[in-house]
Amino acid sequence: MANKVTIYSTPTCVYCKMAKDFFKNNNVEYTEHNVAEDDSAREEMVHKSHQLGVPVIDINGEVFVGFNKREIAKALGVSE
């Protein structure tokens, strides 16, 4: 089953880039919302995570704040 992955990011956020690189290296497809420009995505992110930090990563409905490679790999079922 394919994972449904959404990342809320800003262009200046280093951990967002790390997360996206990790997705690419593991052939994980994802949807990206730039919350610096997209206000409704920002609201959605705050609603899901109850906070303002980026990245917020939604994997099949499970919400992660920040990029912790170990946790994200586990949720995706890929190796680190």
């Binding site: 200046t12 280093v14 303002l52 930090g53 704040v65």
Partner: protein, 308 residues
């Protein structure tokens, strides 16, 4: 039993790792994360030999350089929580419950951001309380924010916020701006800025998100409130030394005292370098160079060589 355990993976840790491996010292490097503090910098322009590099790319290069060395062992994603010495052997315990033994230890754990230690700061962390303006400024588009601290980091945070925030307060505890005068003159011209001096921040207000802050106006002795959506805290940094207990001597800023010729600490068998040490200038290149000094001295120590 290792000959050397390196604690940290910033520029100091990476430089130490490369030199230790090339000296064939049996080494373990333990780091929470590779790259160090400038990881979040969009552009590092003084890493010698490289005109311009992002903090992330610099971090990746450092990690790759260490990992390409033969013989070095690496534990990353874990934290050292304790270092104990008994009979000239050091036992090191990590958060994930691992433990290792070594003849020598190099502490290159750097520093982290100083916190205000006031109500609301922890509770609203990430909920309007922010630590990196370069990273998070775009999240505050059209919002009112405050920057606490008027050192260089504070002034730069103000500058990073101007393109996004609709209003920026700069809150300073003393009556002097510590940061660079040229930067201060530049930001002062922006009508979005309001400067509040002699203001001691007492509390960050808000339930689910930041709604304001309370400060003591030292001149009038009155408590005042500001309505805000975000607070950027830029009041300096403190060394990561807690895991050492009182194994080594520290100065008044809690930085590890070292002999600047060898990087030795007060505890035989323990060296320190980079931002965690009492080095005067805290920079990537200096951290790397001082850590190399330490490894060369550790190599001598392990081989029973004493240089005067």
């Amino acid at each position: 039993m290792y000959d050397l355990i390196i604690i940290g993976g910033g520029p100091a840790g990476a430089a130490a790792g490369v030199y230790a491996a090339r000296k064939k010292i049996k080494t373990l490097l333990i780091a929470k994360e590779f790259g160090g503090q400038s990881l979040v910098s969009p552009d590092v322009q003084n890493w010698i030999g490289t005109k311009s590099i992002s903090g992330l790319e610099l971090a990746q290069n450092l990690e790759e350089h260490v990992r390409s060395q033969e013989g070095i062992e690496i534990v990353d994603g874990d934290l050292v929580e304790g270092v104990v010495k008994s009979d000239s052997v050091f036992s090191i315990k990590t958060k994930e419950g691992k433990s290792f033994e070594s003849k020598t230890v190099l502490v290159v754990s750097g520093s982290r951001r100083r916190r205000l230690g006031i109500p609301g700061e922890d509770k609203l962390d990430g909920k309007g309380v922010a630590w990196c303006a370069t990273c998070d400024a775009p999240l505050f588009g059209g919002k009112t924010v405050a920057v606490i601290g008027a050192g260089n980091a504070g002034l730069e945070a103000v500058r990073d916020l101007f393109p996004y925030a609709s209003k920026v307060y700069l809150i300073n505890r003393s009556d002097k701006i510590k940061g660079d005068a040229v930067t201060f003159e530049e930001i002062k011209k922006n009508p979005k800025l309001e400067i509040i001096m002699m203001a001691e921040t007492k509390e960050i207000l808000g339930d689910k998100m930041v709604t304001g802050l309370k400060y003591l106006d030292a001149e009038s002795g009155q408590e005042k409130e500001l309505k805000l959506d975000g607070v950027f805290i830029e009041i300096g940094s403190i060394p990561n030394v807690e895991f050492l207990g009182d194994l080594v001597e520290k100065n008044q800023y809690n930085e590890i005292k070292v002999d600047h010729k060898t990087q030795q600490t007060s505890q035989p068998g323990v060296w320190a370098a980079g931002d965690v040490s009492d080095v005067l200038y805290k920079q990537n290149n200096i951290s790397a160079g001082d850590a190399i000094k330490a490894v060369l001295n550790i190599h001598d120590y392990l081989n029973g060589v004493e240089r005067k």
